[in-house]
Amino acid sequence: MSAVAALAGYVDGIGLLGPGIGDWTAGARLLAGEAPWVRASTVLPAPECLPSAERRRTGTVVRLALAVGLEATARAGADPAALAAVFASSGGDGQNCHEICQVLASAERHLSPTRFHNSVHNAAAGYWGIATGATAASNALCAYDASFGAGLLEALTQVAVERTSVLLIAYDASYPEPLHLHRPIPDAFGVALVLAPAASAASQARLAASLTDAPADGMAEAALDGLRVSIPAARSLPLLAHLARRTSGSVALDYLDGMRLAVDVSACR
């Protein structure tokens, strides 16, 4: 399989949240080898950006998506209301799904409207719109373990074809039992990238993506590689490592069975 035409964009801002990783500042230090990874449960901030009524209704995945999305746009100096957005998650809100299935298995079947609203895969996109006033197009997609790769492909394709900046938010959280056994995602992990069609003062690196059958790159540190393969959004870690170290190079990210995403990273500064 030969590489196809490259899809390129500039990374203007990054957001990150994961187990023992509070934001991109902390994540970059970790990935640059400047600080050890201290494992701890992911801490999700309350979404101050939402009115209190909506804030109460948000579950883990929405808080996760909002947190990393806002960090990326703030770091990029971009107006979130003006950005097209791509939301990529392998599973959506597992806790909410469990609650709904429990109710439907009971005698009463009284589903709460809020639970139903939050069951759509694009719930995070909806809350993002409420929080930021964004009216530009948003997309919510899923490709199981390939969700980060699919999200990056969709975002870079939009950058290339529409010549517009795009916010990519990739996020996953764990399912409660009895679903957890069948989908053992250990904790919440989210990453966001503001991708722009042209370089600016905010640009950190140029990414060019194509399809490849080269094997996926792992993380040198075994524990971080364990994180990479256990949470779909963390398939982004080899790319984030380059961005953290401000190095240039090529990484192969896990994508679909039999195919990977090759990403050429060219550091801007």
Binding site: H110, L111, A143, T157, P178, L181, L211
Partner: protein, 364 residues
Amino acid sequence: MNPLALTSFTATSCIGRGVAATLATLRERRTGLVPCAFETVTLDTWVGEVAGVDDAPLPARLHQFECRNNRLAHLGLVQDGLAEAVKRAAARYGRERVGVFLGTSTSGILETELAYRERDPVSGALPAHFRYRGAHNTFSLAAFAQQALELSGPAVVISCACSSSAKVFASARRAIEAGLIDAALVGGVDSLCLTTLYGFHSLQLVSRTPCRPFDVARDGISIGEAAAFALLERPGESLDANAVLLLGVGESSDAHNFHGTGTPSNDDAEARAVTGVLGNSIPGSSTKGATGHTLGAAGALEAVICALALQHALMPAGVNTTEVDPALSVHYLRDNRATPLARVMSNSFGFGGSNCSLIFGRAG
């Protein structure tokens, strides 16, 4: 944008398996909605159920995908020579150059709902036959289609509620435009399940009668299920005059496919949006009175109906609507109209504010 050709398309819903049956029901202005007798649902509502979805399991080699949603997908894929057309495209361009962009909101959630009724009384575990990856997960529809059609290119499921299988057209055309792929299977499948029936009921959005879009007495949706697909590729050198093209967003249009779910607020908001941009001279209708609201499959199902409208010079009537709400100043068709069409716009709007309008046209 550069137009793309829909070189093959098909739809299976409660108004028929395949385009011939679908067109016949539209011509006869019949609805396929029936009183809900689905599973153990006790709601007073009408649904657009596809008969025979559970008649046969999937082919053995696809058993890991077994669920109602994928059985409906399979039923849809084998109609109208679509599967053969996709395989020809794979042979022509290469398997890795045909992408899969499908929409769904339900995926195989019904199987999970049923599995929760069979939890181990001590451990609470789900039964051994529960399939997360092949059925429950939102991506299973695209994984199933790739496997069924032996494709190995980019694949994704877009899940933005009721605009899902309209947005797949947009994503696919960008991927073709960018040179990532040469052709794309686009479409959507959603199936009846307890979550959507009880969920929309909890929002008091479900009608107790067959839904009546744009009617002065409209009072909610009727939920349906459907599988609809199209093969998108760059137009060839010589195009039949009756070939259907995806033209994107245009400035002129001969007809509308309204999203027209039948709720008081959707139809009102849609009417104001459409007439605000395009005025009220362009006639249109919603087909949801015939098929119900097929949620994640609506965009694709209605895209195929637009293609049939273009090819057969037929503006289908809005079935079940007896008196158009005078407060909605749209030009709403209550009768079929036979007239050559050059352009059709199709609207799909979803929870979370996800909107998509597609423009289709004839090549000739």
